[in-house]
């Protein structure tokens, strides 16, 4: 059977992955032979360039002057008072250029692609946020960009499709399978196999074959590194609780990772429970899935008894993925991080609460995180601190929210 081996005592939760790209039993390099030389090339190049101070300097330069980093750490005073418990801080990654955390990663990967001499960029996208973030950096660095997007998602996310086109990207509809994010990822992998010489694949979340889960995490840890420093400056203490939403899990790992060895800091990842975990229409891979192998890594997946991948559902298109980054699966099994699930309705309520109390329209993704904050903050003491990643802004979601609330626009 496939039972996990006996766990060894863990000295640091930040040491992974191992040389095989594993976090415990999760991760790995489960790709076709055609892709193996490429995946190994990306790994070699990544390790070489990340050690180069020039690479870091270039990343920092664009992060500051183009993305607008560091993003502020903001004390949500009215919301904290409204909930009547812990002090709630928002890490304001929704103020980044393009309106979400996604660009931290696409910036890092395109700098790598450029150094590797790649001349063509491909990406997959679900809601279009990663597609927009990729198209943006491709425009910035003058590289042709092809974005694969499920035909179903293209219909649902017309404004983002137009944004990508404005930015010069070619958006290719994917009609195979269920025509959603997972199929877009399959199609991007197929493109990569056929264009191995000149193409770099910018994966949007902490999934895919090694080194992607590590690489995407490293680029996103800018969130947690800044937040940790900012909170120490502001409060002279570490937070009691970190909260972040999880689709693939890139914003969550970006926040969590720099705190993993701070034993007093609890962390909770919030998955999308869609219409409820019992309904079958959800995107909670940890709460409702089992370990399996897809898109190059072993992780928790929504799948049936026969190992066929099932479709995810969430009101938030950005959480709508049937898997989760392998490092989260490991943090889940080791118990270092906790994971909960929040329904569409709970997220909608939190979305409105945030608008009303803070004057911030959040994306539906972090509205899931906020819904969990709303549950736990009142039970915490006033001097305790919750740090939540507000990883995206909600302009893109106003139509979906209006529709869900039954308000004709």
């Amino acid at each position: 059977m496939n039972a996990p081996p006996e766990p060894e005592p863990i000295e640091s939760y930040r040491a992974g992955p191992d040389p095989h790209g594993r976090f415990g039993i999760f991760g790995g390099r489960f790709v076709a032979e055609t892709l193996m030389p490429l995946v190994l090339e990306v790994e070699r190049a990544y390790h070489q360039h990340r050690a180069d101070p020039d690479f870091q300097r270039e990343f920092d330069y664009y992060a500051r002057d183009y993305i607008g980093r560091p993003s502020p750490l903001y004390f949500a005073e009215r919301l904290s008072a409204e909930l009547g418990g812990a002090k709630i801080y928002f890490k304001r990654d929704e103020l980044n250029h393009t309106g979400a955390h996604k660009i931290n990663n696409t910036l890092g990967q395109i700098l790598l692609a450029k150094r590797m001499g790649k001349r063509r960029i491909i990406a997959e996208t679900g809601a279009g946020q990663h597609g927009v973030a990729t198209a943006t950096v491709c425009a910035l660095f003058n590289l042709p960009c092809v974005v694969y997007m499920g035909a179903t998602d293209i219909k649902r996310q017309a404004p983002n499709v137009f944004r990508m086109k404005l930015l010069g990207a070619e958006v290719l509809p994917v009609t195979s399978g269920t025509a959603t994010l997972k199929d877009a990822m399959n199609e991007a992998l197929r493109d990569w196999v056929a264009n191995v010489e000149d193409t770099f694949y910018i994966i949007g979340t902490v999934a895919g074959p090694h080194p992607y889960p590590q690489m995407v995490r490293d680029f996103q840890t800018v969130i947690g590194v800044e937040a940790r420093r900012q909170l120490l400056e502001r409060e002279n203490t570490l937070p009691n609780l970190l909260v972040a939403c999880i689709g693939g899990g890139s914003n969550a790992i970006g926040l969590f990772h720099p705190f993993l060895d701070d034993k007093t800091v609890r962390m909770v990842g919030v998955e999308a429970a869609g219409r409820g975990l019992q309904s079958g229409a959800h995107a909670a891979s940890l709460a409702g899935g089992k370990p399996g192998v897809l898109h190059g890594n072993r992780t928790y997946l929504l799948q049936d008894e026969d190992g066929q991948i099932q479709d995810a559902h969430s009101i938030s298109a950005g959480l709508d993925y049937p898997g989760i980054g392998p490092e989260h699966s490991w943090l889940f099994e080791t118990g270092r991080a906790e994971y909960v699930a929040v329904t569409d309705d709970e997220a909608l309520a939190a979305f409105q609460l945030c608008c009303r109390t803070e004057g911030i329209i959040p994306a539906l993704e972090p509205a899931h995180a906020l819904a969990h904050v709303g549950k736990v903050a009142p039970r915490m003491a006033r001097e305790q601190i919750i740090l939540m990643n507000l990883c995206g802004r909600g302009d893109k979601d106003v139509f979906a929210v209006a529709e869900a609330l039954g308000i004709p626009l």
């Binding site: 059977m1 496939n2 095989h20 790995g28 390099r29 489960f30 790709v31 076709a32 032979e33 055609t34 892709l35 193996m36 030389p37 490429l38 195979s176 399978g177 997972k182 199929d183 399959n186 992998l189 197929r190 196999v193 056929a194 191995v196 089992k290 370990p291 399996g292 192998v293 897809l294 898109h295 190059g296 072993r298 997946l301 799948q303 008894e305 026969d306 190992g307 066929q308 991948i309």
Partner: protein, 296 residues
Amino acid sequence: MSGRGETHSAAREADANANGGDTRARTRTRTRLGRCFAKLKQQQRAGLVTFITAGDPDLKTAAKILRGMPQAGADLIELGMPFSDPMADGAAIQAANLRALKAGMTLTKTLQMVQQFRAHDAHTPVVLMGYYNPIYRYGNQRFLDDAMRAGVDGLIIVDLPPEEDDELCHPALTAGLHWIRLLTPTTDAARMAKVLRHSSGFVYHVAIAGITGTGSAKQSELKKAVAKIRRHTALPIAVGFGIKTPADVTATAKIADAVVVGSAIIERIADGVAKGENGDAVAAQAHAFVRGLAGG
């Protein structure tokens, strides 16, 4: 269940291949796959490998197609295990996977299909091809035991590269199944040794860098690629991807020990389904097409 002590011949052959040992020739004919290639060599011709997806378009029709394949001219059969997300496959085989799943195909039924085929045909090798997740879910050792019992000869698991050999490759060889690996135009000389190390039965050279059912390789490039592989292994070499017509088969047969045709057969099945033909007619067309490939 086979323990370490009773290593079967497929595994022994793999070891022999890895060590370049002289037991190679002796062990080669001990498996159905070995005997198949020995016979082909004797007949001085390349084998025809036909790929179909188990359960496509439905279990009954697929079983009929499988059963008639040897008579139509298939020397070896590759049977696809349906998966919802076949990342290395083009449109034709993706569609076949979905047709099969929609018709209720499962890994259990795929193994039963092989078992039923074996009841009628003790000679034609059957190699299962697919993706790891359904096997992982089924349970690796349970799958290997059931596959051996059903009369499966080998496995081609697309998303298990040598880096992940501990998962299924080593247990499969121990169980007595051949482990057949893909070599691609992106496999360089250094990597080739690694890929061939635990390969057994035959080597599958993917003629193009790409997915199934798309472009074709130039014969000159193919010749060079196959010659390069021959310098590294004595295993028979099958060539697939982009081989669609009898002329393609004839040309590739001059270079390789076996020629794999997949998407082109699947497209005949899809055509029949699209026209609303019954299972017998669909199977008959698939067989007629394979007869054409086999040279009449």
